[in-house]
């Protein structure tokens, strides 16, 4: 993260935080003064410090989701000044440092909002809709075993690299929060492409994309309007090229399902 200043002097900001006691309860913004902050502390550390103050006063601390604090788990999820994970490109909230702000700034902190991500409390949302999509097809059914011998299944380097780009998705939901339509297309396309690019993923390629898209729609996510706000907000800078790939996969699978021959024998094996 590029710092907006290289100053080492402490800074004070005003936080305008979304407070909501529980699901389906009315929420509101509450202002908190965060004083004398070390510019090198992360945004989440700053929230910890603010929470210390709040707790000392006997009030309910701000609930926020966090886990690894190194940008690989996808748990932290704050919309900061209207952008998921705050200013800066290719970082999660935990990788945002206070040096990205100026002394005296007003910082608006909200949860990742979407109808499919109901607020649990304050800044924490329920993102289990993503799990439902993964359960619909984000896996390879057969055991692929331990690491195979090199070259026993040839994978072109180009495909492996592209699959790795997609696999970098940490499932945080910033794409949904950034999208004007709360669409989950970037997340789903990353998961579909990650497996669809590998030889092991081919047998279930059609079934996977049809099932995952169908579940995505059923979960109430919006539709892509090709504005690419998702990839701009993605902490892993996953490209919206994967959305194009998923669109193609989905259309191919839909048309193929009409013409693909089916065996007459039912039964005997999983139907």
């Amino acid at each position: 993260m590029v710092a907006s200043s290289t100053s080492k002097s402490s800074l004070s900001v005003t936080l305008r935080v979304w407070r909501q006691a529980g699901p389906n309860q009315p929420g509101k913004f509450v202002d908190y003064a965060a004083k004398d902050l070390n510019p090198d502390m992360s945004f989440l550390e700053m929230l910890d410090v603010v929470n210390d103050d709040i707790t000392t006063k006997g009030e309910e601390p701000i609930a926020f989701a966090h886990d690894c604090r190194e940008g690989i788990c996808g748990t932290c999820s704050c919309t900061i000044n209207g952008k998921p994970h705050g200013p800066g490109r290719g970082i999660a909230t935990c990788q945002l440092y206070m040096r990205s702000f100026h002394d005296g700034d007003l910082i608006v902190v909200e949860p990742f909002r979407a109808r499919s991500f109901p607020v649990i409390k304050d800044l924490i949302t329920d993102r289990s809709a993503f799990d439902k999509i993964m359960q619909a097809g984000g896996f390879i059914t057969v055991r692929t075993g331990a690491a195979p011998d090199a070259n026993s299944i040839p994978v072109p380097k180009h495909d492996a690299d592209l699959a790795m780009d997609a696999a970098a998705c940490i499932g945080c939901g910033a794409c949904v929060a950034a999208c004007r339509n709360a669409s989950a297309m970037l997340f789903v396309s990353a998961k579909v492409s990650q497996l669809g690019l590998f030889p092991q993923g081919q047998p279930e390629r059609d079934k996977r994309v049809l099932a995952m898209v169908s579940t995505m729609d059923a979960m109430g996510f919006g539709n892509c309007t090709n504005q690419y706000e998702c990839s701009a907000a993605c902490p892993k800078t996953i490209s919206h090229d994967f959305i194009a790939r998923m669109n193609r996969d989905y259309l191919k699978a839909s048309f193929r399902s009409v013409f693909k021959p089916v065996s007459n024998s039912t039964g005997g094996g999983a139907a």
């Binding site: 979304w18 913004f29 919309t79 000044n81 209207g82 952008k83 608006v108 909200e110 909002r113 979407a114 109808r115 499919s116 991500f117 109901p118 607020v119 929060a177 950034a178 004007r180 339509n181 709360a182 669409s183 297309m185 049809l210 898209v213 169908s214 995505m216 729609d217 109430g220 996510f221 919006g222 539709n223 892509c224 309007t225 090709n226 504005q227 690419y228 706000e229 701009a232 907000a233 490209s239 919206h240 090229d241 959305i243 194009a244 790939r245 998923m246 669109n247 193609r248 996969d249 989905y250 259309l251 839909s254 048309f255 399902s257 009409v258």
Partner: protein, 262 residues
């Protein structure tokens, strides 16, 4: 789900329908413009062309029905998708104003440009096809035009010299001599070009043919296409409005001749 179910009910399916109908409509507007640019040639051309199209009878109706269905599906899919998008956000949108990161201007206003284009298409049909708006200048109410030479399509003379045909040439020029009509046309085709700037780019994305490797070139090609389309359309009302393109020689307005007869 069946193929029809996938296409009409799923998110990507309906986007595919939007892309497909959009492609048909882009094809039409380009053909329509190229045909109409014949107005800059001798009146024989545009009048012969119009008579030729009308001569096609059932084929013309097939084309009209395909276009009408395309417009219907395009609007239906856009509406259905937009309502779902609203639903996905309702009650849980960002409390702060939407912070745009990289969405293009044409994508943000695509719905609004769509509304203007729809209003324009309705007016355009009323004026030049049905003769509801500005009916005194409608082709059916103008004196017939006598073809000076054969109108040829692919070398075949489809409209013979001496044939009496509708005077589309004069209708268009009389229509565009009204500055309000002309300015509305120019604004509407400008917004249509702006609509296509997002639409054509989106077509490639929805079909899955767009990637970072050539998206920059695609964007530039789309921009050039939209600009050329706009300039082509600007030429017709623009040249009439500035007086560069006037009525044909020997044209007599019917209203004056009618009063003379009375």
């Amino acid at each position: 789900m069946s193929l029809a179910g996938n296409l009409f009910h799923s998110s990507i399916g309906r986007k595919f329908l939007m892309a497909l109908t959009g492609l048909i409509l882009v094809g039409f507007v380009v053909g329509h413009l190229v045909g109409n640019l014949q107005i800059f040639q001798d009146p024989d051309h545009i009048n012969g062309y119009a008579a030729f199209l009308h001569q096609m009878g059932p084929l013309l109706w097939v084309a009209r029905i395909v276009l009408l269905i395309s417009v219907g599906i395009h609007i239906w899919a856009a509406t259905a998708l937009a309502l779902e998008n609203k639903q996905a956000r309702t009650g849980n949108g960002p409390a702060t104003a939407k912070h745009w990161i990289q969405a293009t201007l044409s994508s943000r206003f695509v719905r609004w440009t769509g509304y203007v284009v729809l209003a324009f298409v309705i007016y355009h049909l009323a004026q030049f096809t049905l003769g509801v708006a500005g009916s005194a200048q409608f082709k059916e109410n103008l004196p017939r035009y006598v073809m000076a030479a054969d109108y040829r399509v692919a070398g075949f003379p489809v409209i013979k010299a001496g044939a009496e045909v509708l005077d589309v040439h004069s209708m268009v020029i009389l229509g565009f001599q009204n500055p309000i009509v002309s300015v509305f046309y120019i604004i509407a085709v400008g917004l249509l070009s702006f609509h296509l700037l997002h639409g054509i780019d989106s077509f490639f994305q929805t079909m899955g043919w767009r990637s970072a490797k050539w998206s920059g070139a695609l964007r530039k090609l789309t921009l050039v296409f939209c600009l050329a389309y706009f300039l082509g359309n600007l030429a017709i009302p623009g040249s009439v409005l500035t007086g560069m393109k006037g009525l044909r020689e020997g044209f007599r307005a019917p209203s004056t001749s009618r009063t003379a007869r009375r």
